[in-house]
């Protein structure tokens, strides 16, 4: 068995997962390329944790195959099963699952010593990782003495420190409060994007990054999925119902669940006294791949300053043929670029100055006579513009 800690065997994940557990049946085919961040997005009970367990080797497949970078990890037909300790998969568990009897430093060093590294050397590496996570001074603390966000960063460092061939993160932001969530999202974004932006990140580069490793993020939160992932896979009731880039999902959601999730508008900008100046086109924003005109959104929350992520639910956007009168603080004129009937709702993709997704009832769409190219007035209440600190630097 290889004990080469720093060795990188770049390669994608190719998983064909078939399992039956009681009444629950899973049949999922999932590919994540080397260097790609994929999000597995699904409601509770869809089988997300089962996929984590199967890939990590904690649950043997009933059928199918799991391959990682040319290694077959599980293939029931061929009688192959690689034990979890030999898979070289870094797992960030839900609720962290840090060893309570060990210090933060020993938690991060655990995988290194398990793979045969000397204790002192492992502690040196672990310290570098804690430094990279802004936890350099807290290495001696037990997990109980750390905040939720700090624990989650220790968990991330622990998983990454062994330079895994695959990073598997199960609801890494799930148990955190809003502040810790936003902070950690920034951390995650820095680590997940280290292969893509080629030095564009300002986050410290840890000793062994994971630039050419596939990364799979399991979440039920569309914001995490759309902000962090290159590709989103939607899991419903043990099946992948749709896979695609965030943009593809937004344009043509295949199911009601996908439509609900993918319509969330995420707009990057700079906040000051409740006014959000929308950022210029930066190429990676999930939604606000806007034009170079400065758009200002008004938000009810006046406490935020600096880089923010504004969230607007597609159903919170009202469309009108005439300039609306009344209270909404955000009113502007735009054109409909596409109109997609999605059953119960009709999705309207809006163009310049701020590309947004709006969901209205088919009746309203009919009344407004919306077609691609139709000029419309948009109104959004300031209370519907939710602000969070931006996940990226």
């Amino acid at each position: 068995m290889s004990t080469d800690v720093a060795g990188t065997r770049a390669g994608g994940l190719d998983a064909e997962i078939r399992l039956v557990r009681g009444d629950f049946e899973m049949d999922v085919s999932l590919q994540v390329a080397a260097g790609e961040t994929a999000a597995l997005l699904g409601p509770n009970g869809a089988g997300k944790s089962t996929i984590v367990a199967a890939i990590a080797g904690l649950l043997p497949l009933g059928g199918g195959m799991i391959r990682l970078g040319g290694r077959v990890l599980d293939d029931p037909d061929a009688g192959i099963f690689t034990a979890p300790e030999h898979r070289r998969i870094g797992v960030v568990f839900q609720d962290q699952v840090l060893f309570q009897h060990l210090s933060a430093l020993d938690n991060v060093a655990f995988g290194l010593t398990a793979r045969g590294m000397r204790r002192s050397e492992a502690h040196g590496h672990a310290q570098t990782w804690l430094d990279a996570m802004d936890l350099g001074d807290l290495g001696h603390r037990r997990p109980r003495a750390l905040s939720g966000g700090q624990r989650q960063r220790v968990a991330l460092a622990r998983a990454l420190a062994c330079s895994p061939d695959l990073l598997l993160a199960d609801e890494p932001l799930g148990s955190l409060d809003v502040t810790a969530r936003n902070r950690l999202r920034r951390n995650l974004a820095a680590h997940l994007s280290s292969g893509r932006n080629g030095g564009g990140t300002t986050a410290p580069v840890p000793p062994h990054g994971t630039p050419n490793v596939p990364r799979l993020l399991i979440t039920h939160d569309p914001t995490d999925a759309f902000v962090l992932a290159d590709r989103v896979h939607i899991l419903e009731d043990g099946r992948l119902t749709q896979s695609g880039t965030p943009d593809e999902l937004r344009r043509a959601p295949a199911t009601a669940y996908a439509a609900d999730l993918s319509g969330i508008n995420l707009v990057r900008g700079t906040a000051r006294d409740g006014e959000v100046t929308v950022a210029d086109d930066d190429g990676t924003a999930a939604s606000a791949t806007g034009r170079r005109s400065a758009v200002v959104l008004h938000a009810a929350d006046t406490s935020m300053f600096g880089a923010v992520l504004a969230t607007i639910h597609p159903r919170a956007i009202a469309l009108h043929r005439e300039r609306p009168s009344g209270s909404p603080r955000n009113i502007w004129r735009t054109t409909a670029e596409a109109v997609e009937p999605l059953g119960d709702i009709t999705r309207v993709l809006l163009g310049a100055p701020l590309p947004l997704t709006a969901d209205i009832t088919p009746g309203a769409a009919h009344e407004l006579l919306i077609r691609p190219g139709t000029t419309l007035w948009v109104s959004v209440k300031a209370t519907e513009v939710e602000l969070a600190p931006d996940g990226r630097d």
Partner: protein, 281 residues
């Protein structure tokens, strides 16, 4: 009790937290029967203390007869506790983690000594491992080793009655352990043995500690199995409980003195363990 610390900071506002509600007080029949219970357990201790020859206590405790028994008791009970932990933990792991046919039979078998009269257990050991026993006979013929009437016999008899306590406690702790910690260790590359050593055992450490100490206390007080299997040979197999029994016939003051030492030891241990055995509020 930490009521004192609560009243330090608060004057009037803090006092309300320490006030008793009617729910904190027992109904009178409960209070009465609880008091009867306390008296039942306190009386023997009081009786023992009343009968104790306080002036000659040290002379009695320093006699050859008592010192020999005490040394043997300490050595054999510590050895028995070590055997109980060494055998009990793996057994508990198997019972908690491995599903196999006859698991409940095995569990019943290994916890049998807890309900069996110790004398019967000692007799059974004698039939199995005595000079003419099914295993003891061939063992003696082959190696010359004879377990009964030796310190090895004392240790074995003690371990026989003490190990079930370790098995039950540790099995419970293992069942309550969140298996995801072991899963996390595995994904980090730890072998199964390393996971057991570095994660599982430290995590059940408190339960294992309590189990071992309780097993030791049980071994220290063991009488029936010891006297049946190992005999009552002064200086060789006569432990403190056996010495008390003998002294009751010959030297009552000595018996009382030894008893007092055993009571003090056990009571101190239970008080020290109280917070772990019954987690404090």
């Amino acid at each position: 009790m930490t009521e004192g610390s609560a009243s330090v900071s608060g004057r009037d506002s803090g006092a309300s937290a320490a006030r008793r509600t009617p729910q904190d007080l027992p109904p009178w029949p409960v209070a009465l029967l609880a008091a009867v219970g306390v008296v039942l357990f306190a009386l023997p201790v009081v009786g023992l203390a009343a009968r104790t020859p306080w002036t000659g206590l040290l002379t009695h405790l320093g006699s050859r007869f008592v010192v020999d028994a005490a040394v043997l008791s300490v050595v054999s009970s510590v050895a028995a506790a070590a055997v109980a932990a060494a055998v009990g933990v793996p057994l508990a792991w198997v019972l908690a983690r491995v599903q196999f046919r006859g698991r409940s039979v095995v569990r019943a078998l290994v916890t049998l000594p807890m309900v069996l009269p110790p004398v019967v257990g000692g007799a059974a050991l004698l039939f199995a491992l005595g000079r003419r026993g099914v295993v003891g006979g061939p063992l003696h013929d082959a190696t010359g080793l004879l377990l009964p009437y030796s310190i090895w016999g004392v240790i074995l008899a003690n371990a026989f009655v003490a190990t079930p306590l370790v098995i039950l406690t540790v099995e419970g702790a293992l069942r309550n352990l969140d298996r995801r910690y072991e899963a996390a260790a595995a994904t980090l590359g730890a072998s199964r043995l390393r996971t057991l050593w570095k994660v599982t055992l430290p995590m059940i450490g408190p339960a294992l500690g309590v189990a071992t100490v309780v097993a030791w206390a049980r071994a220290l007080g063991e009488f029936g199995a010891t006297v049946t299997f190992a005999g009552n040979l002064g200086g060789r197999t006569q432990t403190l409980p056996l010495a008390v029994f003998v002294a009751l016939e010959s030297d009552r003051d000595a018996a009382v003195a030894i008893s007092l030492v055993l009571v003090a030891l056990s009571l101190g241990l239970l008080i020290a363990l109280r917070d772990r055995w019954w987690p404090s509020r």
